[in-house]
């Protein structure tokens, strides 16, 4: 499973602080990070807080990762300016919404704009379309020492089913 492999990569990269906004696609990875005694999982009210958290942790000598959904990319745009101007290393793992098959049209605009918005703020963007691609891309993202995002396509995490949720 990709979450286990990604968690292993986070461990070997030396990640100590994990900022996250709860997300269905990241559910398992968040659980793994929360259960890891070497990691401090920090639940955020908005993704923007994760950028400040990561910058502060870096100043204190610790590596971090930010887990979020593509809608959250819209919440971090201005503060990515700090990442760029201070050259803070930053790794974001982003689960996609609004791709083909999305049931909720309100998720589509930000989903479509996600890669361009990140690139406009000088974040390097890689996309995993298959589960086997996620962990290697995450490992690669930590090597550059710059701002990097790994997008996890809905083909990996599945399409949110409102029918299923209603039946629960």
């Amino acid at each position: 499973m990709w979450p286990e492999k990604v968690h292993k990569e986070l461990s070997s990269a030396g990640v100590r602080v994990v900022g996250y906004v709860p997300d269905a696609g990241h559910k398992r990875l968040i659980e793994l990070c929360r259960a890891d005694r070497k990691m401090r999982a920090v639940v955020l009210t908005t993704e923007e807080e994760g950028i400040g958290l990561a910058a502060g942790a870096w100043l204190g000598g610790q590596k971090s990762v930010l887990l979020m959904q593509s809608s959250g990319v819209g919440n971090i745009v201005n503060v990515l300016g700090m990442v760029q101007v201070c050259r803070f290393p930053l790794v974001m793992i982003i689960t996609m919404r609004g791709e083909q098959g999305e049931f909720n049209p309100w998720q589509v605009p930000m989903g479509l704009a996600t890669p361009q918005v990140l690139e406009a703020m000088s974040v390097s963007v890689r996309r995993a379309s298959d589960a086997s691609e996620v962990a290697p891309l995450v490992a690669e993202a930590f090597k550059g020492g710059t701002a990097a995002a790994v997008l996890i396509s809905q083909s990996v995490i599945g399409i949110k089913s409102f029918q299923e949720q209603r039946a629960q």
Partner: protein, 199 residues
């Protein structure tokens, strides 16, 4: 009640004999305040990322649990990131203090009033978010007490210090973000050697 404290004097008192305190400042006036009190490599003044000063403080406090971390920021900057109070309230780092220098104005944009001028109570918000100590400071004696709390008390600690709305001469820190980051990391982590940050 009219504020009588002067912001530069407040910040100078808080940073007096700062020992190994790590200091972050929100953009604008509080960055000028900490610089006027005496620039240091262990100060990280910001020139942007409005709303993130408290969260940067949390990240630093978690990464450096043995050091005291002080965030000095303005009321406008804090208002832009109020969710951070809730996030910090969940983590409750004992070594983090957040001091809001509250002039009830947006000082960099023409001194327009902020929400605190209309009675919005930041100290009460911090208390409601689980900060162990949260106070409203209006007097010099209160500032002196706050200084020792920052160095001694187990936090997280929050203080809202009411100050006069003054337009003061700018005292600018370096504005190169890489320089600010590298000098901070070098002084904190590598005894003056710049290695970790360019890792």
């Amino acid at each position: 009640m009219k504020a009588t404290l002067h912001r530069r004097e407040v910040v100078k008192s808080l940073l007096k004999d700062r020992k190994d305190l790590l200091v972050l400042a929100g953009l604008g006036s509080t960055s000028w305040d900490i610089t006027a009190a005496g620039d240091s490599p262990l100060s990280f003044p910001t020139w942007g990322a409005m709303g993130q000063a408290a969260m940067m403080g949390l990240g630093l406090a978690l990464a450096q649990p043995r050091r005291r971390v002080l965030v000095v920021t303005g009321d406008g900057e804090m208002l832009m990131g109020l969710g951070a109070l809730a996030t910090i309230g969940v983590q409750r780092p004992a070594n983090l203090s957040i001091v809001v220098i509250d002039n009830e104005r947006y000082g960099e944009t023409g001194m327009q009033t902020t929400h605190t001028a209309h009675g919005i109570d930041l100290a009460a918000m911090a208390r409601a978010c689980g900060f162990k100590h949260s106070t409203l400071v209006r007097t010099k004696a209160g500032v002196a007490k706050l200084r020792s709390a920052i160095h001694g008390k187990s936090g997280p600690l929050f203080a809202q210090v009411k100050v006069k709305a003054e337009k003061l001469p700018l005292v600018l820190p370096p504005h190169d973000g890489v320089l600010l980051k590298e000098r901070f990391c070098a002084a904190l982590l590598n005894q003056g050697q710049t290695t970790f940050c360019s890792d």
